[in-house]
Each structure stands twice: as C-alpha cells, then as structure tokens.
C-alpha cells in the first residue's frame, strides 16, 4: 500500500490509498483524478497519462522502458521528471509520492 498525492495543474490536491501492483494511472482513473485521459487503458500506446513525478521519488518510480521514453519525447511540456503514469507500478516504496498532472494531455 502507498499513499499517493495527486496535484492538479491549479494546485488542487488529493491523497489516495493505492494498492500494490496497480499502476499510478489506474489509481488516478478509478478515483477520477482530472488531467489523466489514459485512452489506451495502460497499454503504453497513447501517451495520454503523462504526469510529473516528485523528483525525490524518481528512482522508486522505476526504470523507464524504451517505449515510454520515446512516447514521452512527443508529449507536450515534457520535463526531466515526466513519466507515463501507466508505467509506474505502485509499491510500498512509493508511499508519500506526489505526482502533478498537466493541464491537458494533448
């Protein structure tokens, strides 16, 4: 289990309990966190679940695969802490994670 705080682009915060093994995207979608579309449902096919990960948690969020890297390269407003949230698996190590959602996925 991990507590994850989602911060929307306007600063609104929501802290949610996340089960291990789910993706950060699923936690967001199941709880209707705004700013994440996740059109493909987590297949790493659409790049519409882009988030910014608290830099302190980048290592815990896991290694980026080649597919994710090249998908992110085409997202809008990419930063060094950008990730596709469907590719981050919830683990105990993510307890306290803060992710910020962009204003739009397009």
């Amino acid at each position: 289990m991990a507590k994850i705080t989602f911060v929307s682009h306007d600063g609104t915060e929501r802290t949610l309990e996340a089960k291990n093994g789910m993706s950060v995207m699923e936690v967001a979608v199941n709880n209707s966190v705004p700013g994440i579309d996740a059109d493909c449902g987590g297949a790493c096919a659409c790049a519409t679940c882009h988030v910014y990960v608290d830099p302190a948690f980048l290592a815990q969020a896991g290694e980026q695969q080649e597919m994710e890297k090249s998908m992110l390269d085409f997202a809008e407003n990419v930063k060094p802490n950008s990730r596709l949230s469907c590719q981050i698996k919830v683990t105990d190590a993510l307890d306290g994670l803060r992710v910020t959602t962009p204003e739009s996925q397009h």
């Binding site: 059109d39 493909c40 096919a45 597919m67 085409f74």
Partner: protein, 414 residues
Amino acid sequence: MPAGEGQRIVIVAGGQAAAQALQSLRQGGFPGALTLVGDEAALPYQRPPLSKGYMKGEVEEERLYFKPSAWYEDQNIELLLGTHVPKIDRASRQVQLGHGGHLPYDYLILATGSRPRPLPVRGADLGGVHDLRTLADVERLSPKMVAGRRIVIIGAGYIGLEAAAVARQMGLEVTVIETAPRVLARVTSPVLSEFYAGEHARQGVKILTGAQLSHLDGVDGEVSAAILADGTRLPADIVLSGIGILPNEELAKDAGIACSNGILVDRDARTSDPHVFAAGDCASRPLVHFGRSGRLESVHNAIEQGKLAAAAILGLPRPAEDCPWFWSDQYDLKLQIAGLSQGYDTHVIRGDPDSRKFAVFYLKNGTLIAVDAVNSPPEFLASKKLIMSGAKLAPAVLIDTSTPMKDIAAQAAA
C-alpha cells in the same frame, strides 16, 4: 434544446463508447437522470486486453473495468446490467426492457457495439468452437488454453493474430487459416503482412493463407478437426473464430433509424432521429479528414464519439475530431497505427523490418494518410499530427533514418 434538469438520458449497452459518454455527460454538468442498460452482466470494461494480457491470465477482471462500482453510485448513474433492450419506441421516447417494462428517455445513445461474424460452416455450433469478443467468451475459452493442445484460429486479422501470439506463448500448437492470400489483408499493406507472417512463423505458428474452411468435424459434440476445401484435415482441440465483426444496428433499424453497414450519424454522432445518438463500433460516421464516411472499430473512435454525443446533447462545443489511431500487441511487437491507409498510392518503409523496429508510411497524391509503426512511437506520434495537418512529405525525407522523426515533423509543419 440541450439536456438538463428533470431529463433522462438512456445509454444502451456498456462498452467503451458508453463509458466515455457517461463520464463526459457528468463532467459536462448534466444534472438529470442517467441510465445505462446493457446485455452484459459485468460493469463496463475494456475489450482490448481480452485478446492480450487478460487472455493470458495476467490481469484480474476488476482491472478491466473503466470505473469501479462506487463511481457509478457517486455519479448517480443507474446501471441496468444483464438487461436486454429489444425495442425502441421513438414516438413515445421509450426503450423496452427485456424483462418487461419501459424506460422513458429525452435523449438516447446507442452504443450497441458489434458482434463476431458467425462462422458460416457446418460444425460451427460444436463445443470447443469459440469467439473472442466478451469477458464471457474469455471465461469459456481460458480454461481450455492448456499447453500442448491444438488450437485452429480462423481468420488472420488483428484478433486472430493477437490470439495466436497469446496461445503460442501459453504453449499451444497454433494453426491460423486465412482465405485471403496474405495475413491482415483487409487492414494493411503487403509489407506488414509479410513481416507479421514471418514473425508468427518464427514463433512456431503455422499460417495457411489462401485456405478455405469447408467445415468442422466433431466427436460427441466437441470439435475435433477443421477441414479445408482442398480436403486438408487440421486436428483441433479448440477452434477460435476471428473473421470480422458486424455492427449491432438492428435495434436502430427496426425503429426506422437510417442504417447502412452501421447506424448512420453526423459529425455530432446524431442519428436520423435528433433525440437518438449512436457511438462506437455500431456507428457509421463522417471521417472528416478522409472525405468519406465509415465505421471504425477502435478504442479511439469509441472514446471520441462518446465525447461527441455527450457534447451535442449538452449543447457544448464539438470536441476535436482526432486522427484515427489503433494499436495491436503481438509478442514483443507493439504496432501503432495512425490514419486510414485505404486508397494509398505510395508506401515508404522507414527503418529495417529485420530490426523489428520500422514504420510504413502511406501517401496519396504526396499527402501522408497513414502509418503502421512497429516498435516506433516517434513515427506514430509524429504522423498523427502530420496526417491531421494534411502534410505533403517526400519519400526521400521519410526514408532517411539519420533525420529524427521530430525534425521531419517540424520541417513539414514549417
């Protein structure tokens, strides 16, 4: 007049388009009653994983749901699951419910989807003959997917080939038969067909193209073999049919709504009845970037039309109509498709198929109309935008892998 307080919107059937319409209607501020009536017993769920991870047992059922059941309660959405709608009475604006009774509507969204085209051969009703469309289909099929068993897959489209990949990974002996001279013939170019046929062959799948199924043989009511027109006998423990889908348009047709290979809709997903909308696989829509109408069988289309219908009903501005896109996962190959390649006059291969990372661009009169990108997200993502802008691209530019796709896109946009 847009929908509002005191009104009821009814959505028939609960797939991707329905789930999107529900979300968009509530996000758009619709305060009235919202009811989803669907044949299937499960909460609205994602279908793509059925022929991929879910079939392999990698994903639990709950993870396929678009939203958990609590969400429907929070949003005050009434779910009538496992409920068939046999008839629409447009004059009194009501839908009939299978178990009796009626449900009135102010606006109706038909998101009835599609169904597998039935196998038109003798023996199709034997035990062990399966379709792959619903959770219930996978529940019937999964326990039989045991290493060493023989599965014969009828049809080498995306469903057939995705299922072949999964079956092979699970250790089954897999044969795919296809009437066309090549795999994926209906949906892509010979370049991709050759690549995927080669990949499946390397993985140990036997592919028979130009093969006509004659009938299925059975023993004690269970399928035992697929027999081809030339007499070839393919012993089978399981037969899986993937020969295309048919739009579920009968409900609309019977109510006198215009249909032609799908429920005909305008750019706002509105049918010939201004109070009835249709979205997803069942709808035939204007394909504005391609100058024609047609049905798209895809996640993108279902999401987009769900949004279009909701916006039109609420009197909100029309959401963007994006470039059509699709994907298919087979083995470690991710195919991402943007645009519609039908009618292309030139194709350009960027990269080397042998490297398992390449893209095929399709051009018509010099304009990019589609791409098939294998393990190549940059080519896919750049093309989505280039296709929308009607970009003209020289084959020599697209073929040059020393120039990153990002730069090619930037130059084309300049």
